[in-house]
Amino acid sequence: MARGNPIDSVKGFGVTFKQIFKKPITQQYPEYKRPVYPRFRGRHRLHVHENGLEKCVGCSLCAAACPADCIRVVAAENTADNRVSAGERYARIYEINMSRCIFCGYCELACPFDAITLGNEYEISEYSRDDLIYTKDMLLAEPIKKVPVADRDLYDTPIPYYQEHS
C-alpha cells in the first residue's frame, strides 16, 4: 500500500488554517440580498397596458403550456360597461398554484400578449399551502418584497422584446 509522505500529510492543516484569514463566503441573507441575475425566474406577474387595461385576454395559452398544470384561467366576455382587458375577453379568474409551479417560464414564452412574466422575486414562502395559490389581484399588484437585480444590460442581452415592452 502506497504511503503518503508524513510531511505532505501536514499540508492539509495549512489549507484549513489559511482560510481563517479569508473573508467568509456566507452571505448574511435577510440583511444582505445578493442581486439576482436579470434572467432569474421568480414570482410571476401580470401586466397592464398604460391605459389601465389588462394585457391578459384569457386565452389560456399559459395554462396549456404549463408542464406542472398549475395555472387556472377562466375567461369571460368584456362588455361595454365592464371593460377589463384590451381584447374581446378577459381572465375572470387567473390563479397560479405556486406550490406546484416549477418556474420553467414556459408561461411567459407561451403568452402572445406579454401579459405574464416571471419576475425576479424569490421570497415567496408562506406558512400555509392555501396562501400559495396566487390570485389575479396578487399577480397584478406590485410585489411587496423586492430583490436587487444585477446589471440588466450586461447579463441579459439582447433584451427579449416582451420584457422591454411589458
Binding site: 500500500m1 502506497a2 504511503r3 503518503g4 509522505n5 508524513p6 505532505d8 500529510s9 499540508k11 492539509g12 495549512g14 489549507v15 484549513t16 482560510q19 463566503i25 439576482v36 441575475y37 434572467r39 432569474f40 425566474r41 395559452l61 396549456a64 403550456a65 404549463c66 408542464p67 416549477i102 418556474f103 420553467c104 417560464g105 414556459y106 414564452l109 407561451a110 402572445p112 406579454d114 416571471l118 444585477a150 446589471d151 450586461l154 447579463y155 441579459d156 442581452t157 439582447p158 427579449p160 422584446y161 416582451y162
Partner: protein
C-alpha cells in the same frame, strides 16, 4: 472497450455474488448466528445519499450481508413524460438526476432532434458542450464534498460548495435558474448567451484548477485519507463490465471508456481533452478519476469559451417554424407566426414515428434515453438508462471484506443519485 493489458490484477476470478448479483448473502456458517446484527442504514440516515436503504448484516464491525432497497424516491418521471407534449416534457429529465441536470436535459433534447432530423446551429452546439462540462464539474464537486464529509473531512464540503456556487451563478445568469434550467430546447438554446457570461466564466475557469489543487492538498497526501480509500471497494475491470458499469466507476477500474470520445456528440470531436483512467478499482482510484475529470472539464470549458466568443450575433436556435417557437417580435406582426406559436404551445409539434436511443457521458456515466414516437405530439414511451442505478448494482460486489466505515465510503464512491435510481 479498451482494457489495458498490462494492468495489475485486482483480484482473482469474479466477485459478483450469485445467484443474485445485487445481494450480498450472509455466509452459510454465520446464518442464524446470534452474533449477527441486522441494521438498517437508511432510508433516513446521515450518509445515505438521499433515500437509499441498505439492510446490512453486521458481524461485529464486519459487513457480511447487504441488500439495497430502492424506490423511496420513485416519482414516475418516465410515465409522466408520456402525458406531456414533447416540448413540455423537456422540463422533466433534468429533475431525474438533479446533480447533472444539464446532461439529462441534453440527452432528451438530442433524442428529439435525432427523431426530427433537426440541424442545430454551431453556437448552440458549443454552448451546450460548455454548459454540460460546467455541469460535470458541479456534479463532481457535490460528490467530492459529500464523500469527504462521509469520511469525516468536514471542511472539504464547504470548499467544494464555494466553487459549486460559482457554477450555479453562471447557470442563473445564462439560463434563469440555478438548477433545472430548461435552457436546451429542441433546435438549440432557449435564449442567446448574455454578454456578461464570458468574463464571469473566464474568472471561474482561471480559478477552478487552483481550487482543485487546494482539495488535493487537503486530502491527497493525507495518511488517514489514503488508509480510508486505498484498496477498498475493489471492482475488477471484468466485473465492472459484467455489471454494466460506466463513467468514473468503470474508469476507476482501469477500463478506458468514455462516450465523449468513443462516439463523440456535440462538439467533443473538435475538443482536446484527456480521459483519466486508473487501474486499481478502489475508492481511491474513483476519487482520482473525479479529480482529474474536474481539471479536464475546466480545460474543455475554456476551449468552448474561446470558440463561443467569436460567435456573437450568430443564431442560437434552428429556424424551423414547425418545431421552434417563432421569435417574440413576430407575434405582433405576423399572423402566420402567431398560428405556429399557438400550434406548438397547445398541441405541440409532431415528431415522426420511430424509436431512438441516444447515449451520452453524464457526470455519472452512460446516460441513455430511449424514446419511441408514434408520430403524435407526445412521446409514446420514454426510458432512461440511469448510470446511478447501474452503479448501485455494484454495491454488493464492492462490499467484500468491508467494515461499517468502509460501507459508507464505498457507497459514497459509487456516486449514486437516488433521484436517478428511482426515477
Amino acid at each position: 472497450m479498451a482494457i489495458a493489458s498490462d494492468r495489475p490484477r485486482i483480484y482473482e476470478s469474479s466477485r459478483v455474488p450469485s445467484p443474485i448479483p445485487t445481494v450480498l448473502q450472509v455466509p452459510e456458517e454465520l446464518r442464524g448466528s446470534e452474533d449477527l446484527l441486522q441494521v438498517n442504514f437508511g432510508p433516513n440516515h446521515p450518509s445515505t445519499h438521499g433515500v437509499l436503504r441498505l439492510i446490512v448484516d453486521l458481524h461485529g464491525e464486519n459487513v457480511v450481508g447487504l441488500e439495497a432497497v430502492i424506490g423511496y424516491l420513485h416519482t414516475g418521471f418516465e410515465k409522466n413524460m408520456e402525458q406531456k407534449t414533447w416540448w413540455k416534457a423537456i422540463t422533466y429529465p433534468e429533475r431525474i438526476d438533479y446533480l447533472s441536470f444539464q446532461n439529462n436535459e441534453l440527452v432528451f433534447v438530442l433524442a428529439i432532434e435525432k427523431l426530427l432530423g433537426l440541424e442545430v446551429p454551431e453556437k448552440a452546439t458549443w454552448m451546450r458542450t460548455c454548459l454540460c462540462e460546467l455541469n460535470r464539474i458541479h456534479s463532481h464537486l457535490v460528490w467530492l464534498g459529500t464523500a469527504a464529509l462521509e469520511l469525516g473531512a468536514i471542511s472539504m464540503f464547504w470548499y467544494c460548495f464555494r466553487e459549486r456556487d460559482s457554477v450555479l451563478d453562471l447557470y442563473e445568469m445564462v439560463c434563469g435558474a440555478r438548477m433545472h434550467t430548461r435552457y436546451f430546447q429542441a433546435g438549440g438554446l432557449a435564449e442567446d448567451i448574455p454578454r456578461g457570461f464570458f468574463p464571469e466564466a473566464r474568472k471561474f475557469v482561471d480559478w477552478m484548477p487552483k481550487a482543485v489543487d487546494d482539495y488535493e492538498r487537503l486530502v491527497d497526501q493525507n495518511e488517514i485519507w489514503l488508509e480510508r480509500t486505498k484498496g477498498l471497494g475493489l471492482l475488477s475491470a471484468e466485473d465492472a463490465i459484467a455489471l454494466g458499469q460506466s463513467g468514473p466507476v468503470l474508469r476507476g477500474s482501469g477500463v478506458d471508456w468514455d462516450l465523449r470520445r468513443a462516439q463523440p456528440y456535440l462538439a467533443y470531436e473538435q475538443l482536446d481533452f484527456r480521459v483519466p483512467t486508473y487501474p486499481n478499482g478502489d475508492v481511491w482510484d474513483r476519487y482520482k478519476v473525479h479529480m482529474d475529470e474536474m481539471r479536464e472539464s475546466t480545460r474543455i470549458v475554456a476551449q468552448c469559451l474561446d470558440r463561443l466568443e467569436g460567435m456573437e450575433g450568430q443564431p442560437w436556435i434552428a429556424d424551423d417554424r414547425k418545431v421552434v417557437l417563432p421569435p417574440r417580435e413576430e407575434l405582433h406582426t405576423s399572423m402566420e407566426s402567431l398560428i405556429h406559436h399557438f400550434k406548438i404551445v397547445t398541441e405541440g409539434y409532431r415528431v415522426p414515428e420511430g424509436e431512438v436511443y441516444v447515449a451520452l457521458e453524464s457526470a455519472r456515466g452512460e446516460l441513455g434515453c430511449y424514446v419511441v414516437s408514434d408520430g403524435g405530439p407526445k412521446p409514446w414511451r420514454v426510458k432512461f438508462r440511469a448510470p446511478s442505478f447501474v452503479a448501485l448494482e455494484a454495491t454488493a460486489t464492492c462490499m467484500t471484506d468491508a467494515l461499517v466505515a468502509d460501507l459508507i465510503a464505498i457507497v459514497g464512491s459509487l456516486d449514486t443519485v437516488m433521484g436517478e435510481v428511482d426515477r
